[in-house]
């Protein structure tokens, strides 16, 4: 075995430049795969974190049916029952109770529809980053204040400190109406929110809709995005499924999940393309090497080398080329991904589109060492598979003809 490794290794060294080109092509392919995957993972992670961090939270708990048919009638009537279950679940870092209802907002000059959200300011800031998106003024802190989206403010022709009136139907069916003073304008970059969201305190919303302590939902922030599914399942186990629905961000925003699945499928497609390039590179090197070494293989066969030993030797060559390429590619991929994971990739020229998808204009690749192991294994297996044909050709040589050349 050792002698075959020696011959394989020395053949690689003998054809130094060709081997370097092959190793480089494998390395660049692997590094590209590593980097693209890290970039996509980073972008997806940011997208989910920004989306969940902006408004939805990682998990939401509603009364059964609220997600499909939201409204005050689907309010949670026993918030204490839910908070009791949340206290029992581990891995939760923050919880914010909310009231949500569609309302009509009027200014002196105009009126428009919006989603009014009542939040406890102290708890909400730990679940979402809405407060960080106040571009002028400040977040709500008292019951007479309201924050509205900047586009909505423009359409109502109002600004900071102006009064607006909110009109809606209360829980008991009566007409609810209250005036609030604008304390801040929201600028999230997501047009949907900037033109259709208004925020008051939870108590103000409770009074407006005559809810007597009922809430529309609890938004939950998990310790990390990766733990969301586990925590969701844990909360589900503690609550009556006939009364409550516990939704992770994947269920809250299926379109976001689909987008991420598309990204994964895209990176898998790239993997396929890169594997084909890698396979072609190795195949070319091995076939060229075999054409040059026909006589050598003929001598080996004449001396009594078994065909499977020839196959083994060519397999070892391919394995060495593959391993060297993967090592080089790993260094390059981890290096570049690691650098940009710290410094970020500034894509501000695509800022508008990226904001719309909640990605943000600076992408920080996320390095997961699981994928390089999987990709490395696939590249290695590919390099072994493509060595089968050249090895088979070498092993099937007729020694007399091969020696004769």
């Amino acid at each position: 075995m050792l002698i075959f490794i020696k011959i394989a290794w020395r053949n690689i060294r003998r054809n130094f430049y060709r081997s370097v080109i092959t190793i480089s092509s494998i390395g660049i392919g692997f590094a590209s795969l590593f980097f693209i995957r890290s970039f996509i993972d980073g972008a997806d992670h940011q997208m989910v974190e920004n989306y969940t961090g902006l408004i939805s939270g990682h998990i939401q708990i509603h009364s059964k049916g609220f997600q499909d048919n939201p409204g005050l009638k689907k309010s949670i009537r026993s918030p204490l029952e839910v908070t009791g279950a949340l206290v029992k679940a581990s891995g939760i870092t923050a919880v914010s109770p909310r009231v949500k209802e569609y309302v009509l907002i009027s200014s002196a000059e105009n009126s428009g529809g919006a989603l009014l959200m009542g939040v406890d300011p102290e708890q909400e800031v730990n679940v979402t980053s809405l407060h960080k998106h106040i571009r002028s003024g400040k977040f709500v802190s008292t019951d007479g204040q309201i924050v509205i989206g900047k586009t909505l403010a423009r359409s109502l022709s109002v600004g900071i400190n102006d009064k607006i009136v909110v009109v809606a139907q209360a829980f008991d069916g009566s007409l609810a109406s209250e005036s609030y003073r604008i304390c801040g304008l929201l600028d999230t970059g997501a047009e949907e929110m900037d033109k259709g969201l208004a925020i008051v305190t939870l108590r103000a919303a409770d009074q407006l809709f005559v809810l007597d302590g009922k809430v529309s939902e609890f938004a939950v922030r998990a310790g990390s995005l990766e733990k969301t599914d586990k925590i969701t399942a844990s909360i589900k186990r503690s609550l009556d499924p006939l009364k409550y629905e516990v939704l992770s961000w994947k269920e809250i925003s299926p379109s976001l999940l689909q987008w991420i699945q598309f990204d994964v499928a895209f990176s898998d497609f790239l993997l396929l393309v890169i594997l084909l390039v890698v396979a072609a590179g190795i195949l070319n090197t091995l076939l060229m090497g075999i054409l040059e070494r026909v006589r050598e293989f003929g001598i080996m066969l004449a001396l009594g080398t078994k065909r499977r030993q020839i196959v083994l030797m060519i397999g070892i060559e391919s394995l060495i080329l593959g391993l060297a390429g993967i090592a080089a590619g790993f260094a390059l991929g981890a290096g570049s991904s690691g650098y940009f994971a710290v410094h970020g990739i500034n894509l501000s020229s695509f800022s508008a589109a990226l904001d719309e998808y909640y990605t943000g204009s600076v992408i920080y690749p996320r390095i997961s060492y699981g994928y390089p192991v999987i990709y490395g294994t696939i590249v290695l297996i590919t390099s072994l598979i493509v060595s089968i044909y050249p090895a088979w050709r070498a092993a099937r040589l007729n020694p007399v003809e091969a020696i004769r050349g």
Binding site: L301, A302, L303, G304, R307, Q309, I403
Partner: protein, 225 residues
Amino acid sequence: MALIEIRGITKTHIEKSGVRTEALRGIDLTVNEGDFLSIAGPSGSGKTTLLNIIGALDSPTSGTVLFDGIDIGNTPTARLADLRLKKVGFVFQAYNLFNTLTAIENIEYIMVLQAKPPFEARKTAKALLERVGLSAHGDKQVNRLSGGEQQRVAVARALASGPKVILADEPTANLDSRTAANLIDLMRELNIEKNVTFIFSTHDKIVMDKATRLVLLKDGKILNG
């Protein structure tokens, strides 16, 4: 005692164009253990074809070759490889050593194929290198050795498997006459010392003169019965 018995073998090569060439036309030959036999004849007389058939590298079109009791024509390819590995040593005109390996590794190669322990293979290879007068050159890449030295390494490699017969196809063709004579002397010594049968194909007079038995081949037939 007969080591190789060849009875009525013919070999016809058929080119892709359909042209048939009769390389051997009814050869009968018995090679005994310990023979130092030279098969001589002009180019195209069938010397190399005969040597390839004896060495189980090729099979006859008709007739039988019994090598140490094994019928080469009726033996599967994999077993022929085994036969070559254990019973036949080859010395080629162009040396045909592995340039990626050192002299000692070239000799060890055969023993590795025979699954001998590495320590034993190294010990035997060193002894063989010393026997062919190249103990100082063991760690050199073979392409840095002279033609005569490379052919000595080839002889040592051929001996490494402990063969019954060494087949040498024009072994002196690329050597000057003095080096050729020294090489043949060395082979003769080994022939006597180890009782290994040597069969040469040659048209070199030095080789023919040193041979203990001479077979003349012309147009695929043995001339001297």
